[in-house]
Amino acid sequence: MATENQTSAEYIQHHLQNLTFGRLPEGFERVDHHGKVVETLTDSAWTIAHNAAEAKAMGFWALHLDTLGWSIFLGVLFLYLFRKAAIYATSGVPGALQNFVELMVEFVDTNVKDTFHGRNALIAPLALTIFVWVFLMNLMDLVPVDWLPLIATQLGIPFMKVVPTTDPNATIAMALAVFGLIIYYSIKVKGVGGFVGELTLHPFNHWSLIPFNFLLEFVGLLAKPVSLALRLFGNLYAGELIFILIALIPVWWAQWFLSVPWAIFHILIIVLQAFIFMMLTIVYLSMAHEDH
């Protein structure tokens, strides 16, 4: 849906830009979308970025308000529904909501029990949170790509990227949290010595091969969070991009002939990616618990 005063490239860039809040440095030149300088900042200012260059200039200490807002909203929605079901949970005949919640909980619990054989009160709720939260965030991808950004524009909000999992910040944050847990449990279960030993005396248990082992194992260790984060991000980003590209096709009926099949196919992807993220988390944590 590129309008006459917006090129296709601008349309795509607009859809891929997060609503960024941060500090513009002193002397920064703000420009309008024709590239004309509107104002030069005499002092550094906390503001919302109006284009990609401004967002970039804000550096690390900036927040993606849309990613945070939507993901927290969805997380709260998830916990609100599940907490409601948990409060009224009865061992008698369950209601519709409780039924659904029990279905999810049992599904996650079965997967955790199949993979992880130790005793840990954290892993199952962690897996449930990951599965449902990631699923809900992915689900935002099925909302037609123009609806929410258009409403936001009408309200004077310059950008609105509604799928938090297409923001690498969201997926990397989760992957880092899981990575932290992997290291925590590795050290807790095996001790510092055990963990270092696992990194250095594996797969070749000989002192002369310690550097080689370390290289192999360290790469393997780092690959876990990186692959976890990038897999989810990549799948959802690509899916979102295809929705945007379909929306750009000028023939009006192409929306239904292309967007609908892609959306139906995407239902599979969003569930699958949520499931994969959950399963890999369980597998990584169960590996962290295993003593060689």
Partner: protein
């Protein structure tokens, strides 16, 4: 697409969600599930037990019925035996009583006969004497002839 402090915000949100889920969502749901599992297991067990109990009760009832039938048959047999015994006894009693009455009647008859005979004998003596007086036309010395008359009477 920039990496920035959103990373930290997202990590915090994630941690809070996980902790909330772990503390307030997972345990009650799991507890409800476990309780229901236990309830169902108990129910199945109770049903099994009830089935066994029913079988036992049916067995017992059948046995008691058979025993009762047997007892009833025994009682009837005993009653039959007893009744025939009573009949036999009654018959015997009746026979004995009849006999006794017959004997008594015979005794009475004999007594009556004897008495009649005695009376007759007494009267015969008188009649004989009266007849003889008429025939002889004179008084017979009763004393003198009494020996003769007594002889006569004794012959009757």
């Amino acid at each position: 697409m920039n990496l920035n402090a959103t990373l930290i915000g997202q990590s915090l949100a994630f941690a809070i969600f996980v902790i909330f889920c772990m503390k307030y969502v997972w345990p009650p749901v799991m507890q409800a599930l476990k309780q229901r599992q236990k309830k169902i297991a108990d129910g199945l067990e109770a049903a099994d037990r009830a089935k066994r109990d029913l079988e036992l009760a049916q067995d017992k009832a059948g046995k008691q019925l058979r025993e009762a039938k047997q007892q009833a048959a025994e009682i009837i047999e005993q009653a039959n035996k007893r009744s025939s015994q009573i009949i036999e006894e009654a018959k015997e009693q009746a026979r004995v009583e009849g006999e006794r009455m017959k004997v008594a009647a015979q005794a009475e008859i004999e007594q009556e006969v004897n008495r009649a005979r005695e009376t007759l004998r007494a009267q015969v003596a008188t009649l004989a004497i009266a007849g003889a007086e008429k025939i002889l036309g004179e008084a017979v010395n009763e004393k003198a002839q009494s020996k003769l008359v007594d002889q006569l009477a004794a012959e009757l």
